[in-house]
């Protein structure tokens, strides 16, 4: 059952119960007070009549008065009262009775007490009040009767009227409640519609609920949840797109050595070749295998770095780092006819010595590839920046944003010839990330390049 039906039903039932109880009290109260009024007035009328009659009788009737006379007098005095509702009996002798009812049958009187009864007589409710009066040894019973049927009828009629009013109230209340509840629960409907949409994959949907109540708060919470979901989905999408790009780049990267290996192997298998040519083909296969091996190693390195969220960094002397870097790249630079100058104005840095060394070697390698023999590569370490500068070919501005993409090369043909895999800067960026640093590139074609490693938490 829907919530709005439940709430409306409960409310209608509550109203019905309240109205019914109120009506019942009113009805009972009204009925009782009407009846009491009738009883009281009849009782007091009987009392007055009885007193008048008794006084009159007491004056006239003496001990010596005959029974017949007494009966006539009694009858005379009752008649004097001129009330047709009065009945006078003496024992079983009905002295005066203008009604067709014999009240003694309904209300046998006890001595000295005024009594009343409401009895159903021939379809009518009759109120009978009676008392005994003893005069000169004779006991008279004086009754007064009142038809109270109308009071009961009034009560019944009132009950009918009240129930109609109750029904009307319930109907109106029900309608009003229905409208109110629907209005109150409308935000929930909105909430439901929107959640269904989000469940169906429409993540950019937000819920607008003006109410500042619990539903409004729920909507707020829901919106922040949708925000989180949307953000996460976006992230996942981007990640998937990056992966696809990476995979296609990797596939392309693998195809070149594979083509060469396959071609050479097939040529060796089927084509007539001189010994020298065979050797050359084998050497080429070997070189290509080495290249694939190098690629897979670097790739593993990159994957491991990407997966490690944080590494233990140690506060270490930068002089140690630069000594290590210098020792590692000395031979390579000498072969290329390049020199390296290091200006270290840094004292210590929290780092992973090996990884940071690998990063700098990558940058130096790139700088070396860009430089012409005889040129210098400069490393400058000051405040929170380590920069590697060369005065080589430079990088076109359009290429700068893509530099750290895996397998991106500014000059593809040249990079291959120099044995580049296309992962150097991607690796460097991962290492920088683990050091809470970022890479910044400044370059001008024909003038050279500066790569800065900017450490963010170092003052």
């Amino acid at each position: 059952m829907k919530l709005w039906i439940k709430v409306s039903l409960v409310a209608v039932i509550m109203v019905a119960a309240a109205v019914s109880i109120c009506n019942l009290f009113l009805l009972v109260g009204a009925g009782r007070s009407n009846l009491n009024y009738a009883i009281n007035s009849t009782v007091s009328a009987q009392k007055t009549n009885a007193a008048y009659w008794m006084n009159a009788m007491a004056e006239e009737i003496k001990a010596e008065t005959g029974a017949a006379t007494a009966r006539s007098l009694a009858r005379y005095f009752v008649a004097q009262l001129a009330d047709e509702n009065i009945v006078l009996n003496a024992g079983t002798d009905s002295i005066y009775n203008a009604t067709c009812i014999e009240p003694a049958d309904y209300l046998p009187l006890a001595e000295g007490k005024r009594q009343y009864i409401i009895a159903d007589v021939a379809g009518k409710s009759m109120l009978m009040v009676g008392s005994q009066i003893a005069i000169q040894g004779t006991i008279y019973s004086l009754y007064m009767m009142q038809d109270v049927t109308s009071i009961y009828a009034d009560i019944t009629e009132m009950a009918y009227r009240f129930s109609w009013i109750s029904f009307a109230i319930m109907f109106i209340a029900g309608l009003v409640e229905l409208l109110l509840v629907r209005k109150l629960l409308k935000p929930i409907k909105t909430l439901k519609e929107n959640t269904s949409l989000i469940a169906a994959g429409v993540y950019d949907r937000r819920i607008r609920i003006a109410e500042q109540d619990e539903i409004g708060e729920l909507a707020e919470d829901f919106n922040s949840m949708a925000d989180a979901v949307e953000r996460r989905v976006e992230e996942l999408k981007e990640e998937a797109a990056r992966r696809t790009l990476f995979m296609s780049a990797l596939t392309h990267e693998l195809k070149t050595p594979m083509t060469s290996i396959k071609g050479n192997a097939q040529t060796l298998l089927v084509t007539r070749m001189e010994e020298e040519e065979r050797e050359q083909a084998l050497m080429q296969i070997d070189a290509d295998c080495t290249r694939v091996e190098k690629l897979s190693q670097k790739l593993m390195h990159l994957i491991v770095l990407k997966q490690s969220g944080e590494i233990a960094l140690k506060e270490q002397k930068t002089s140690e780092l630069f000594a290590m870097v210098e020792a590692a790249c000395q031979t390579q630079l000498k072969n290329r006819g390049l020199s390296l100058t290091i200006r270290n104005q840094m004292d210590t840095l929290s780092m992973d010595l090996d990884l940071l060394c690998a990063l700098l070697l990558n940058l130096i390698d790139n700088a070396g590839k860009a430089s012409a023999p005889g040129q210098t590569i400069e490393i400058l370490a000051a405040s929170n920046v380590i920069s590697v500068t060369d005065w080589g070919g430079g990088i076109p501005e359009s290429a700068l944003p893509q530099l750290t993409q895996p397998f991106y090369r500014v000059d593809k043909a040249r990079s291959r010839k120099q044995g580049g895999i296309g992962l150097g800067l991607a690796l460097a960026e991962e290492i920088a990330r683990l050091h809470r640093a970022r890479l910044a590139f400044e370059s001008e074609v024909g003038k050279g390049t500066t790569v800065k490693v900017v450490f963010e938490n170092e003052a």
Binding site: T259, I261, K262, T271, R272, A413
Partner: protein, 220 residues
């Protein structure tokens, strides 16, 4: 004999070397170029090529741009690239390339495709020469030192296939498939019998080499 000249534009030297080696071995003249711009310059000066193998991703000028130069000089083009995505494939063919080969490719497949393109464009040499033997494809005749030698149709076809793939080893299955056709349910033994006939009739015992585990290779 004027051999078919093929221009090989491929920036990767190792791959270029494989292609050139195999082309020369099978009797083509191959000219390697490693740069798109250089290739364009070359055909401006010397357009006497029967076919161009073009890499798509080239330094200087890419393969798609080079196509215009080739078409201008009436040189049919086969693209040769690692780009296997359908878009570039379509662009290549829509622009009027004859064929498209995706790296890594099979050497034999490359040779077959080159042969088909040459046949289709009518640039195929009508005579093949191996030593003192001349094969005329139009006449379906074989001469050794000028004297005509009669061969049965299947023997002739086998000789042509071996000659077209000169210095390349062909498996018995490939020969059977190429000469007798797809539906031929014969045995590879048939190939051996016919090779024996060729060796005997043309005195090619030395030149048709049996390559163990592979098949036969006609060497010049």
């Amino acid at each position: 004999m004027a051999r078919n000249r093929i221009l090989v534009v491929e920036d990767d030297e190792a791959i270029s070397r494989i292609i050139t080696k195999n082309l020369i071995s099978t009797g083509y003249a191959a000219v390697p170029v490693y740069d798109g711009c250089k290739a364009a310059e070359l055909v401006q000066m010397d357009a006497d090529f029967d076919l161009a193998l073009l890499d798509v991703m080239l330094p200087g000028m890419d393969g798609f741009a080079l196509l215009a130069y080739m078409k201008h000089h009436g040189i049919p083009v086969i693209y040769l690239t690692a780009k296997s995505d359908i878009d570039s494939k379509l662009q290549g063919l829509r622009d009027g390339a004859e064929d498209y080969i995706v790296k890594p490719f099979e050497v034999l497949e490359l040779l077959v495709r080159i042969e088909k393109v040459l046949e289709r464009t009518g640039k195929m040499q009508q005579t093949l020469e191996i030593g003192d033997i001349t094969i005329n494809l139009m006449e379906r005749s074989v001469r050794k030192n000028g004297a005509e030698i009669l061969l049965k149709p299947m023997e002739f076809n086998l000789l042509v296939m071996l000659a077209k793939n000169k210095n390349i080893a062909l498996s018995r299955e490939r020969l059977l498939h190429g000469v007798w056709g797809v539906d031929y349910a014969g045995e590879t033994r048939t190939v051996d019998v016919h090779v024996g006939q060729l060796r005997k009739k043309l005195g090619l015992t030395e030149k048709i080499k049996t390559i163990s585990k592979m098949g036969y290779r006609l060497e010049d």
